[in-house]
Symmetry: C2
Subunit: 132 residues, 2 copies
DNA sequence: ACACTTTTTTAGAATCATTATAAACTACGA
DNA sequence: TCGTAGTTTATAATGATTCTAAAAAAGTGT
């Protein structure tokens, strides 16, 4: 299995559940955005052995901590995750409630002129809200 | 009272509670960031007549809808609001869990090169995460 | 394979921010 | 002052997330 190494490298035991979740998250060509509930339902629908909601939460949190997933800063009642872990930005279509990737190359270089004493910039994320 | 007009203009009746909340939000020189709980506690502590939590929620939502407040897109279990409604950005100090304003003039001009068919850009917000 | 320890999974309970409800209260125009 | 629509409030409901603790699985050494 191609994900056993990946999990081991991150210090995560390659369990049946984690491998299944990896398939759903990382086997696709395209990256995508999802909520825990999205993922839970997709797995329940397309897999015969169901995975408990608690495990989905635990695993997604672990993957996020290990850098396999990113959280997307957005105002929503649920947390959105991204399988695209590259440095990039987002459109947020307010009417549809959908996120769309905005690659770094689609945004001019961002220059943060203000410095905060003793602090280092970890990330710069742009959220572009769309209407109409 | 200086806020009566403001509320009337927005189609909101100037009630005792709304005027009190206006004082706490808009009487200061400096703008600030807050959660509903922050505001509820501040009012409870510094005002003799308490305002119910439900009213704080209702009023803040009304103010946000009318453009008197802005929501800040950030990953947190609670919603953050901003009394600074100008077009601006934020640092997010991950260790302290605090937001710091980043004025538009402190960020180079942001050029969104990608266009989404039929959609108009409503806002462009930058979140700069700080570590260390 | 077996015994033993540690980690993981799981169902269900707990937590907590937010929203809904519905009865009492208030603003305000007639 | 009356009547009505809008507002406030205590409280209940909702719903995402986290916690708990017991069962299951994985890893380790023999
Ligand atoms: Mn979120
Ligand atoms: Mn928020
Ligand atoms: Zn993305
Ligand atoms: Zn701000």
């Amino acid at each position: 299995m191609k994900y056993i190494e990946k999990l081991r490298n991150a210090g995560l035991r390659p369990t049946k559940q984690r491998l299944k979740i990896c398939e759903f998250l990382f086997d696709t060509q395209k990256t995508f955005h999802f909520t825990i509930n999205d993922l839970f339902n997709k797995i329940k629908k397309h897999s015969k052995n169901k995975i408990s909601l608690a495990t989905i939460y635990n695993t997604v949190r672990s993957f996020e901590k290990k850098g396999y997933l990113k959280q997307i800063p957005i105002n929503s009642n649920q947390t959105y995750f991204d399988t695209n872990i590259s440095d990039h930005h987002h459109f947020y279509d307010l009417k549809e409630g959908k996120l769309i990737d905005l690659e770094n190359s689609d945004v001019g270089p961002i220059n943060i002129l203000k410095k905060i004493n003793g602090k280092k910039i970890k990330s710069v994320e742009v959220l572009v809200k769309l209407e109409g």
